[in-house]
Symmetry: C2
Subunit: 153 residues, 2 copies
Amino acid sequence: MSALELQRYLHEHLPLTRAMGVTVVSVHEDEVRLQAPLAPNINHHATVFGGSASALAILAGWSLLHTRLASGGLPARLVIQRNTMEYERPIAGTFSARATFESPAAWPEFETLLRRRGRARITVPVVLEYGSIVAGRFSGQFVALAADAAAPG
Amino acid sequence: MSALELQRYLHEHLPLTRAMGVTVVSVHEDEVRLQAPLAPNINHHATVFGGSASALAILAGWSLLHTRLASGGLPARLVIQRNTMEYERPIAGTFSARATFESPAAWPEFETLLRRRGRARITVPVVLEYGSIVAGRFSGQFVALAADAAAPG
């Protein structure tokens, strides 16, 4: 799935991504990068609203897993279960969210478990950046349910 | 500050609240309740996008502190430092976020410290509700800096 295909998917299925002006910067096997401009995400301090920062991080984490599952021919329902977010610096302009894996083993372990049991959990770290400055750190736990498994309770 | 005044403030200063369709349900000394409809916050599973749920919780927590500071004649810059969010149930319609204090002592302790030192931290729990169902739980740590204190570093 290319950056443009992912962006089309987000804009079509998650209207808030259009309102936020989310664009997909790059999609790689082990890293997805999204960005958004300040204007639609501004707060009363003329910096980025924490809710927008959080939302972009969730989208980046979800996108990393979604595109990797798609490229592996492994359709699954992907849901966020919990997350933490640290807001380290105010953001006064266009900002980006870069999602990666915690370790080289994280994806293979997740994929093996998902194929074997139809269900698996994975934690995805995301760094929020404003220019070259780290502005925040997110960690999200997602659960995937293989498309042919029973629906979650 | 009334519910309508708070809603006007949010819509004027945080454009994403308009995009999300956020409305202020009620403002009390110890509880603020916001809500948002499904349509602008929908995801690819036809339920509420986690980023919208998170954003509404942050707004509710911030609003509880902002309105209480305003009613106490205590102008302060209020910033979120970190948060956790648990997504417990999918939300398939209008949802609300109810912010309260952790304990009866939480506000007086925060206010005393803010008046004395010009800076104080407080943790605000927020419950996400879909009808009468608890759909998620948020906990946000905010820092307040008295308006006449030095700007934060």
